[in-house]
Symmetry: C2
Subunit: 148 residues, 2 copies
DNA sequence: TCCATACATTTGTATATACAATTGTTGTAA
DNA sequence: TTACAACAATTGTATATACAAATGTATGGA
């Protein structure tokens, strides 16, 4: 990645700040590429994540709280995220019969097939992003990230 | 950092995806902490970055394009970011006399003193974030991030 | 039973951001 | 000089997000 931005900013910037900025630039790049890959499929990165979590449930419905726990977003957004997916016909929502405060969310078969197409696009993007990484690199990176 | 989210999501998730998710979680954490640190000062992370870039100019005014080059945001937002900072009295904007298409932006002395307070808060946050990192760790992390 | 409390989700509102279209300015070739 | 393309910034609009407040539901104790 081009880190000119970082270096240009300030020659004597300490390594701590540089690392933080570097991380944020990398994250932005990842986000942009992922978002671009999903664009033809008409879903946002967050919506894609919801779908993926729902598939991981293997039929067992998820309620909003569990969705939220596994996601990097705030509760109030999750409601609206799911709204969008319902409009697209990718998920369905119904009140939980045993506890009517809860809402059960399921992926539809329509959603599953759309998701498998998205998977392909995302896999490609992921490979492109990580083309310069060996498996050892990935392991070290994960270990370092664990220190946060 | 707590990576349970990642591991819970899917046991057999490949290391490539895991790394990407991991990065995005770390970035979210950084963002949240930084934003929280700036909150008492009434500026957003982006606004803080603009101020910092302007200070780096050492008196030389910056126009919107150069600000934009060094930032992780879109041009249209930079205009509005600067609007906010003007409202707070931290920067001033005037039309460039030599090329009236351009706009020159300067940090005010008011902005400089506010910025130095923010610096302290940010430095603390940075130290807290990176408390588990040795200098070597930081170097390796930077090197790995360069591979993106 | 009634009430206070906690829970799960939703809604309202302000702000942030992306993307496209627009405005105003400059340079340049006919 | 005029017409046109390129440039720099701004505005409009749709969507996304954060945060606080509100809604509806369940639970436990007086």
């Amino acid at each position: 990645m081009n880190v000119e931005k970082i270096i240009k900013t300030d020659k004597q910037i300490p390594i701590t700040s540089r690392t933080i900025i570097h991380l944020s630039l990398v994250e932005t790049k990842i986000n942009e590429m992922m978002t671009a890959a999903l664009k033809p499929h008409g879903v946002s990165l967050q919506q894609f994540n919801v779908l993926r979590i729902l598939r991981g449930q293997k039929g067992k419905p998820a309620n909003l709280s569990t969705l939220n726990e596994r996601m990097v977003t705030k509760m109030s957004n999750t409601t609206r995220l799911v709204d969008k997916l319902i409009l697209k016909g990718y998920v369905e929502r119904m009140v939980c019969p045993s506890n009517r405060r809860k809402v059960e969310i399921n992926i539809t078969s329509n959603g599953e097939s759309a998701l498998s197409l998205m998977d392909l696009a995302m896999k490609e993007t992921e490979e492109k992003l990580l083309e310069n990484f060996s498996t050892d690199d990935l392991r070290s990176l994960n270990d370092l990230l664990d220190k946060f």
